[in-house]
Amino acid sequence: MFKPLTQAVQLGYRTAFNLFEWPMAGAQRLVGISRVAWLFLLPNLLIFGLFTFLPIILNFFYATTGSDAILLSQRPYVGAENFSSLLSCTDYLDPNSCRRDVFWRAVYNTGWFVVLQVGFMIAFSLVTALILNRDIPLKGFFRGVFFYPVLLSPVVVALIWKWILQRYGIFNAGLEDLGLAPVDWLIDAHWAFFWIIFVSIWAHMGFYTLILLAGLQAIPSDVYEAAEMDGASRFRVFSKITMPLLMPTMVVVVVLSLIRAVQAFDEIFVLTGGGPGSATTLILQYIYETGFASRPQLFGLAAAASILMAVVLLVLTLLQLRATRSQAEG
């Protein structure tokens, strides 16, 4: 069954080669061998330029212009108005006092979400990694168990949990069996916030578990044997040997998960739609809805909000770079 497939792939591979060989060889003769590297870089750089570098610049133009036109030529210059509109509040601790109250709610939601989701996820990932690092049978299988949800699409993840958490779902049925009252999990604001954190931990912790596990496995086993010879208790082994040696990996994991959490959107959007009200609306959803889902499309406001988010991400990325470097050096 695989033979025709392999043959087809090989044929495709060869055809693709022949297709490009003649123009590439010609181009090589044209530019000379010393500049051939640029030929190989060209397609990638073209895409980068068009969809990454150019947009970075354009973002600032959008952020400083108004109206709902997509073409920059049709957008009047408004200076810092988009920013000041986003940032104008009488009391920064109370989103209701802000001109863009949904934005501020999203900011606060994102803040809480990031702190809680990252905190608990790292804790669970660490415990799981420590357990998977023990000498247990079926190691590979169990690693797969915890990793499996990472591969599921956010929409699928959200639908799975929506089905479980619905009013007449299996979760409420279980509660009633225990004699407890059923709850409208995704309609109650506090529970909904709990569940978006829970679901995003469920969906992503396998990835961080895997990285922490790799970090644990990089610790040489003779260190543990030496500690055992020294009569160290399990707790002391953990606190004085495992944790310090795992710290560099830990820092990378924390920063990486912070960066991801700030941009959380997909599964939450499908699970709760940001509701009830805007109780689970995070910053990226605000940007999406402001710029694309609502009429009029406030591109300027969305761009301004993205730039504010970019500033946060930039700080986090710099932290990551420092962390990666100290890990590489350590």
């Binding site: 693709a16 080669f17 590439m24 090589q28 061998i33 051939v36 590297a37 640029w38 190989f40 870089l41 397609p43 990638n44 750089l45 895409i47 980068f48 068009l50 969809f51 990454t52 970075i56 354009l58 973002n59 133009f61 959008y62 997509i70 073409l71 920059l72 415990v127 799981t128 357990i131 000498d135 247990i136 049978p137 590979g140 169990f142 797969g144 168990v145 990793f147 499996y148 591969l151 599921l152 699409s153 956010p154 929409v155 699928v156 639908l159 089905w163 479980i164 007449y168 299996i170 049925a173 009633e176 990835f207 990285i211 990378v252 499908v270 990226l284 999406y288 694309f292 730039i307 970019a310």
Partner: protein
Amino acid sequence: MVWSFISRTRGRGRFDVTDWLTWGYLILGIVLMFGPVLWVAMSSFKTDAALSEYPPSFLPFAPKTVMVEGYDDPLPLYEITAGEHRGEVLAQIRRIGLNAQMVDPQNPAEKINVKIGDRAPAREFAMAFENYSKLFERFNFMRYFWNSVFITVVATIITVIFNSMAAFALAKYRFRGRTTVFLLIIATLMIPPTINLVPIYLVVNELGLVNTPWGVIWPAVATPTGVFLLRQYMLTIPDDLLDAARMDHASEWRVYWRIVLPLAAPAIAVLIIFSVMWRWNEFLWPLIVLTRSEEFTLQLALNAFQGDLQTSWSGLLAMTVLTLLPITIVFALLQKNITAGIAQSGVK
């Protein structure tokens, strides 16, 4: 046998508290990680009637029905648990208040009144495959599936070719500006597309790619992750090999395509896995670019259906299962490679 297998501890030969906790945690892990998916898979085989049953049953049971002479529709069967007809199986015609008007299928002429508390629905094991067939007949499932496959396959091929070409140039040539280009590409790791949504949309719009699969494919094919991953791997390919090929009359393109690409196969496999995962699961960007439903990917279709109140859970669940199936199969086959690849490169 089983016990000695499970109780294999760190050579201490004793099954102590931490081992109990370990196994408790692992079993909880299986339930928590696989349980929800399994529950959805089970539910997707239930009929609409069984889906609205509360409390739900684990296996797909459907209420038994029977055709009774003199009635147009099949009637649901009930077991009688109390009263004078206790033990009999009767079909229900209609409910009237606290009583149900029932009939014995063997004797359709006689109507029997039973208190509703005295009867329980008779059920049978029934897989509702029509949930799936319905998808193909009514929901245009193949269309969305094809859109997703097209985007995933084409984007992955382009990603692998473009990224490996750039990686080859950065790993195997010395030229002025190499470091600059490399740093520039790495820097884009810091700029996730989510913060450039508006201007990227403008570019896609100007190129006339809105509501085409290409609008989803092009913006993300030049992944810095891929370039970095492949470059690091290609650095380990000895330069002598390339020189040997050049002495063998190979053009630079031939050196790349016939020598470097096959030798970078392990790294390319990792990139393919990532790319397939990214593209199959991608949501926000397609959501912005694809607004016409015939262009929807599976993820968008799922999202659209779940927002549509007319849609029944039966169709939605079946579609969810079909969407997670390809990734699950790939994962089951390549679990080791995937986890090893991710652990090594630290990217997702």
